[in-house]
Amino acid sequence: MAKDEINGEDLKPLTQIDRVIHEPARLLILAYLSVVESADFLFLMNQTALTRGNLSSHLSKLEAAGYIEIKKEFVEKIPRTLLRLNEEGRKAFQEYQSDMKQVLDSLSQ
């Protein structure tokens, strides 16, 4: 009976969900980057518990989508890969959050 009460219009955002962000590992990466100004590769690897290759692959996808900026620099002759969520990424992440909230709210009704 509960299924009958779900309005198709309420679930419309589900079809528009950003699939780049919807992947759990990428969602976690964006969640971490959204609360800091920038973080390096090692920090994200420790926090997300992803392997080096896995994290690198997800970061490439997020960079290709235009959500994050990857900057390579040297600090005291040690290479550092600095990652930052750009404005577009921040906006997309916020939209994703509100879309998902809308969908989940309509499902729980």
């Binding site: 100004e37 920038s38 090692l42 920090f43 550092r80 600095l82």
Partner: protein
């Protein structure tokens, strides 16, 4: 799924990852230890500058050498605009120093309580961000130290001496606690070189 991603929790996790190195406790203890000299005798005004340098120069340097190579580098969001930057990085520290000096001149008998409340007030926002139990214990400890210092005044000690002992007592708690945390941090995060060697 997204509802389970509690952003506040994520922010706390990030702050805790850096905070658990114990360095901020050690540097706070050293800072208070230095500043105590100023309260003992105003001619040691330079101790205030040395004390402040523990937080502004020594702590970031230690973090760069010890913490970041192990847990990675993270830059927290800075002040949103120039006005906030001026207020929080210049006006607030100056107001704190000014308040301590004013209390030291006109209300000397309240110096330990005022410094205790002031330190607790400065530590509370940090505790609320990290949600770390030890940070809340620290806030309580600052308040308790103020009461203990006040008790010393009632027992006949000079306000400056009581405040100096209050700061040294805090340093005596903070530095060993920080060192214990730092040792735990080293065990949890071996140096990158050691890790590679171990795996090799």
């Amino acid at each position: 799924m997204i509802s389970s991603v509690d952003m506040m929790k994520v922010e706390r996790e990030i702050h805790l990852a850096v905070r658990r190195d114990g360095l901020s406790d050690i540097c706070s203890g050293l800072m208070l230890g230095c500043m105590a000299l100023f309260f003992l005798d105003f001619k040691y005004a330079g101790a205030l500058i040395v004390g402040c340098s523990m937080q502004t120069i020594i702590l970031p340097t230690c973090r760069r050498m010890i913490t970041y190579p192990r847990v990675g580098y993270v830059k927290f969001r800075g002040r949103a605009n120039m006005r906030q930057l001026i207020v929080w990085d210049f006006v607030v520290p100056l107001a704190v120093v000014g308040l301590i000096i004013c209390v030291g001149i006109w209300m000397r008998w309240l110096l330990p309580v005022c410094t205790g409340v002031l330190l607790a007030g400065l530590a509370l926002p940090g505790a609320r961000i990290t949600g770390y139990v030890l940070d809340y214990v620290l806030v309580g400890l600052f308040l308790l130290s103020g009461a203990a210092g006040q008790l010393m005044i009632w027992l006949g000690y000079a306000p400056g001496t009581a405040t100096a002992f209050q700061f040294w007592a805090l340093a005596a708690v903070l530095i060993p606690a920080g060192l214990a945390e730092l040792i735990g941090f080293f065990h949890e995060h071996p140096s990158p070189a050691q890790e590679t060697h171990g795996k090799g």
